[in-house]
Amino acid sequence: MTVKVLRPGALATLQDLGRSGMQHLGIVPGGAMDGVSHRIANALVGNRVDAATLEIAISGPELLFEKAALVALAGARFEAWIDGAPFPDARPVLVRAGARLRIGRATAGAFGYLAVAGGFDLPVVLGSRSTYLPGAFGGLDGRLVSSGASLPLVADAEAVATERFARAIRKRHAVELAGGAARSVRWLAPALTVSTTDPTLARAVEGAHAKQFTDAARTAFYRERWRVAPDSNRMGYRLLGPRLELVAPTEILSQATCLGTVQVPASGQPIVLMADHQTTGGYPKIAEVIAADAPAVAQVSPGGAVRFLAVKFDEADAAREALARRLSELIERILWEFGDDDD
């Protein structure tokens, strides 16, 4: 059983939590750009957090469900319709066989995650189902989801959908949508990573080469409202703003880079490294976005703005623990709605 792609959208790929333990072979971690929203989408359909989801950027696809399925769209907010009626996000939705889900433009955030109960049935390549586009492996043959593609679901996805939805409406009645094309619930999960401020605020710790930049560059980095350039992608976000100058030209031997590394190539225009970032690089690093805020930066669309706030490690660690706690509380809450507490 499959989900048929009628229209592909801007940049849709299948992703999970990525690959680890192989950076010494140049194998990048990859995975969902916003791993928090990916986890929430999976929880909303009763999946394990590491099941593959369809990551949808900026403008979404149109999908045809060949059989009934339980789906949830979390992360960025999109205009979306199920058989022409508004499709509610951030909650489990049981779609009937033959239903068409049309996902339009993102209205808040950049990356949405569509999870299907049971998960997408994809081969595991190097420990993950994540699509890595530059190497053309993982996901659906290492490629963008395209028109006419079939996204394979596990064989019992329909039975899993019916059983899980029945549990999800045990405590509160279902809501009928689109004249019976879909049914949903009376609750939703809040987005944890889509910024409610403009610019998006990203906390950052000092980069390994921060002291090699001029005082003016370091001041500008934390003062500027940076715009995310249109040629940004899953590897990195280019930031438009003032040129960040070094005190003197520097030669840096290629060394490890991280998710959230802000490197400054010779052009002086910083780049924030994202999920598919290179494992190593030789450009000076002015700052490192903290792990807790990397998903929020991922959710800034091209043309959107970000401002950096300097923090110390204790603040970074507290922020990470706070996010972990909010996510696990939200997942607990979703499990409660599914009635798992009285099983």
Binding site: H24, G26, G35, L253, A291, R320
Partner: protein
């Protein structure tokens, strides 16, 4: 809080000034030298292997580069980051102590890589000949006869940084990177050779192309090369390149 830039015993080589520094809030990095020192490179790989052997489950990646070793411990939902940062720092400091000043690189494998050093593959060979004052044939001979060793795999999957380039071939990167480097392009810059596993942009000077797959996710191991391997470049004619590339189904 562990010492975040401790300088342990630096061994016999006074050029070594090892220190451990944080790299963002999810990794710590040991810096073994500030120049491309081959002893430091060999030590980086020994230390990485040591850390990997002793790594608890919260270590997600151990990344040896040219003269650094980085331990990644983060996931955005992990707790105990401070404990992991201290633990990763300790792992690196202990491995540094054990690595001491020993410098002999353990003998690695020797991997032969066929390279076609002719057009249409050798895009920058004539220019390098002009810049270095050598003939194209002398550039090729200098490249083939040198003792090459893989210093690290990085940037993208299976992408090697290979040291040992003949000093006469010391050329910088091109002023303007090419938007498209062919898969298998063999290129030189900064005293090293690199081979592009995928079609990507790139700024190094292309002197040839190999028909071998540097990276194949379906192969075990997926990367043709690993750090420490000796590399022997074997010149092949364009017809042989086509035959080998065809055998791979390109």
């Amino acid at each position: 809080m562990a010492r975040m830039s401790s300088r342990p015993r630096s061994g016999d080589n006074p050029a070594f000034a090892p220190r451990v520094v944080p790299l963002g809030d999810g990794a710590v990095m040991a810096e073994l030298a500030d120049t491309l020192d081959l002893d430091a490179n060999a030590a980086a790989h020994r230390i990485a292997a040591d850390v990997r052997r002793n790594a608890p489950e919260w270590v997600v990646d151990v990344m040896p580069a040219l003269v650094t070793v980085t331990v990644h411990f983060a996931a955005e939902t992990a707790t105990d980051a401070a404990a992991h940062r201290n633990g990763a720092t300790r792992l690196l400091l202990e491995a540094l102590e054990r690595a001491g000043g020993a410098s002999a690189a353990p003998p690695g494998r020797t991997v032969e890589i066929p390279v076609c050093y002719a057009l249409p593959h050798a895009l920058d060979l004539a220019e390098i000949a002009a810049v270095t004052g050598l003939s194209a044939a002398e550039v090729v001979r200098a490249h083939v006869e040198a003792s090459h060793r893989v210093l690290m795999i990085g940037f993208v999957p299976g992408h090697p940084y290979i040291g040992g380039l003949d000093a006469r071939l010391a050329v910088p990167r091109r002023a303007t990177p090419r938007p498209r480097m062919e898969r298998g392009a063999v290129a030189i810059a900064n005293g090293q050779t690199s081979i592009y596993p995928f079609v990507t942009p790139g700024g190094w000077n292309v002197i040839g192309r190999t028909p071998l797959a540097l990276f194949d996710p379906g192969r075990e191991p997926p990367s043709l090369l690993e750090a420490g391997d000796a590399v022997v470049f074997v010149p092949i004619a364009p017809a042989e390149f086509e035959r080998l590339a065809g055998a791979r189904g390109r």
